[in-house]
């Protein structure tokens, strides 16, 4: 069997990756790093009104269509999660496969170990669609490059599949890989390598990508879905945007007579009021954002880019990039090997772009580095590298270093603790599980909660993600501001509870507010009293540790 493995790079790659997958399954919290994935899965599971919906918004709808049959067959399985794990596994298997295929067995094995130990923990432990987008795109391009050098139909087909799937998972992550694609295309054109295959690759990818792009567009034509999709842009600007002067934004609105409480509300994710924050009323706020947008301070930005690249070295993935690049330059027989510098340049430009929108977020950053690492694989010089680890002492040292790096990488993962405690005044594991049970047994009541609570609930519900919430799992729980606001399935469910306008109707007799001891500075109560000109009474109906279920009513004398 061993002899078989030695000969077959693919089998060897699979075996090696299975070991790492196993380690992940044992150590991880069995869940996503980001809540977005959890709530997208909830859309697919039909957690709101019981009907599975393919409009995932951040992920292309085609993905929803592909997974939907599985949910219809086995509704209690978290297919979305399982497929995300498979994607990570597949991409790393491709990376190792190409390493083993290109290099001598021993060197290939050792470098695969470096790659898997240093890079894979981030992607397994911080599972998210954003990272998977980069991972899949990179593995697809890698197979394209292999196919360009030694044509092989299977590589091309798998490459196309992975490349396109990267686009499906998250087009922003996919786009981070485009500078590399452009570079490789130019290079092939200049060197006139296999122009026919290049043409086929570029054309076929372009056709499929365009098809998917227009398919996605066609999914949001219906008025309800159109409104839902149109709302995402402004929402993200207010709640995620850190690129404008927030105080000046408040000032400008207040000075022009806009209610300051409302400006603060939308900024702190308290925006599910279908009248006051109707899409038509947002341009005024968006103008204020535009008007208070910061400009880049170029000299400071330059410092920031260098510092961000340096800080990358806190992450083991970047060690892998450094090791591979140094190996390339040390063993290269070419006069001028430039890939390490090109990748460093692309990394800088992409960090610059993220600086411009002030969205230097961990999961995006790991994608930037991943692309740079993935393509080092095709630049590792095959022949000269065979002398890299010819002594056994060297081999042992490298393997030990790999395991140390792996241990370090795993220790760094906040996802390590299986039962992650939410706590901090936002309710612990036990509190939320009791509340969820209570909500499930009181389907005549609906529960609303603001961003902080909704997230805490998500953090509890998402573990373990291999189990689905199931249809109707969130049928009587609504956020007062989250990205799934206005999802048609949620709207239909709101209608059933007579909760057409959550921030106004939460005083209805069947609606209860879920609060925690710790609260965001602006509450729905304040919002209501400012906008709907009535004072509210509150009464705690139920308590689960830090969590309170509160009934708000309009004060009698004001009715």
């Amino acid at each position: 069997m061993f002899r078989k493995l030695r000969k077959n790079s693919l089998l060897l790659a699979l075996a090696l990756n299975l070991v790492f997958l196993l380690v992940y399954l044992v150590l991880s919290s069995d869940s996503y790093a980001a809540l977005d994935d959890f709530f997208m899965a909830a859309v697919l599971e039909g957690a709101y009104d019981g009907l599975s919906d393919t409009h995932l918004f951040f992920v292309n709808s085609i993905y929803g269509f592909l997974l939907k049959p599985l949910y219809l067959l086995f509704s209690s399985v978290g297919w979305y999660y399982i497929f995300e794990v498979i994607e990570v596994f597949a991409a790393f298997t491709i990376f190792t496969y190409v390493l083993l295929k290109r290099l001598d067995l021993e060197v290939g094995l050792i470098l695969s170990l470096v790659l898997l130990c240093c890079v894979s923990p981030d992607f397994y432990f911080q599972l998210s669609f954003t990272q998977n987008g980069a991972l899949l795109t990179a593995s697809g391009v890698l197979l394209f490059l292999m196919n360009l050098r030694t044509p092989c139909r299977l590589w091309f087909i798998c490459g196309l599949l992975l490349f396109v799937l990267g686009f499906v998972m998250r087009k922003e992550s996919f786009l981070l890989g485009i500078p590399y694609v452009a570079f490789f295309v130019c290079l092939s054109l200049v060197k006139k390598i296999n122009l026919k295959i290049l043409l086929i690759t570029v054309l076929s990818s372009a056709v499929v990508l365009l098809g998917l792009y227009y398919f996605e567009k066609s999914q949001y034509i219906e008025p309800e879905y159109k409104y839902y999709a149109s709302y995402q842009g402004p929402r993200a600007t207010f709640v995620d945007g850190g690129f404008f002067d927030v105080n000046a934004f408040y000032d400008e609105l207040a000075e022009s007579g806009y209610e300051k409480t409302n400006a603060q509300a939308i900024r702190t994710w308290l925006f599910y009021d279908t009248e006051i924050f109707h899409l038509d009323s947002l341009p005024r706020l968006l103008n204020a954002v535009e008007n208070t947008r910061y400009e880049l301070n170029w000299s400071r930005t330059a410092i920031r880019i260098v510092q961000e690249i340096a800080n990358g070295f806190k992450n083991t993935a970047v060690w892998c990039w450094a090791v591979f690049c140094l190996l390339i330059l040390y063993y290269s027989k070419k006069k001028l090997e430039y890939y390490p510098w090109i990748s460093l340049g692309i990394i800088s430009i992409e960090i610059l772009y993220l600086c411009m929108v002030n969205r230097l977020v961990y999961r995006v950053e790991s994608g930037i580095w991943l692309y740079a690492i993935a393509f080092t694989i095709v630049y590792l010089p095959q022949e000269s590298l065979s002398s890299f680890c010819n002594q056994w002492q060297k081999k042992v040292a490298i393997v030990v270093a790999c395991f140390l790096a792996f241990a370090f990488a795993i220790m760094e993962q906040p996802q390590l603790q299986r039962a992650k405690i939410i706590g901090g005044g936002y309710g612990g594991q036990k509190d939320w599980s009791e509340f969820y049970e209570y909500a499930k047994n009181n389907k005549d009541k609906a529960f609303v909660m603001n961003f902080g609570q909704y997230k805490a609930l998500g953090e509890y519900l998402k573990i373990p993600s291999y189990k689905a919430l199931g249809p109707g799992g969130l049928s009587n729980i609504f956020p007062l501001g989250y990205w799934n606001a206005y999802l048609p399935g949620m709207l239909r469910q709101q209608e059933r509870y007579n909760l057409q306008n959550p921030l106004k109707d939460f005083i209805n007799s069947n609606i209860y507010m879920v609060e925690c001891d710790k609260n965001m500075f602006l509450t729905a109560k304040t919002f209501y009293e400012v906008n709907y000109k009535s004072q509210l009474n509150s009464e705690i109906v139920k308590r689960f540790g830090d969590i309170k279920v509160v009934k708000y009513t309009v004060k009698e004398n004001e009715k």
Binding site: G242, F243, D245, V246, N247, A248, D251, E252, A254, E255, S256, G257, N291, T292, R293, Y294, E295, L296, N297, R300, T301, I303, R304, V306, Q307, I309, A310, N311, G312, F313, K314, A322, C325, L326, L329, Y330, S332, L336, E337, P340, W341, L344, C355, N358, L360
Partner: protein, 250 residues
Amino acid sequence: MKLNFILLLSVIIGLVFLMFYGDSKELDEQIMLKPWHMQRQEQNDSLSSYYLENYQIHGKGRLVEMLSSTPQHKVIILVDAWGVPYIPQNLNEEFAVFSGLSAKKIIQRRLGNTTIHAEKVELRKKDYTGIFLFGGDSLEYNRKEYMPQLGYDKLVFCQNCSDSVMLVQLDSILNENAAIQTIAFTTQSSRDGVRSNLLQSLKLIRDLVAKHPEDIFIIQGTHRPVLTSGKIRESYYENWVPALIMGDAH
């Protein structure tokens, strides 16, 4: 031969060194509110030495409390969107409008950047009689409600009236010599941050002050221009406004 290798190695060593010793704490502070790489160097809000040397700085408390005498009338005029520019010449020009009159030139701390904030902070009063004038709708900012709470028993609103119209009214109130202790007025012609409008309003105010040498005038900016382009707004200090005291025995 391996120059390329050595170059990359030194870059990596340099980066690792930076990782340990680089100051990313300052960089990450307030990343969502005031991202370090999006702030101008001079954007800290401490006044330049020119201002510190040439003008009296008033850090805390209402300007009214600085008065040393208690005259029959005191007039407080809040000039909308009058800020302290980073370029001192502009402010000098604005102060120069009042040349020839004895005035105490002050730069005052203003923590909020809205007119409503300036009014609530500066116009609150303890004496008995007061009148407030504004050349606009009484519903704006809900003045009808909070002005009486600040201690003004008489409110004069005039729809769409420019500063010149309002200053004529103010002049006649002063001429009537009625028993009104505090007369407050918030201008509005300069609210859009257009400098020529501001200078025009200041000139009109100067003419009024010149006509009433017996009264005390406090003239102060509400806040830096807010309802204007970002470029103009950012040419002013965030939390400082100019002010003048005239007619007070020094």
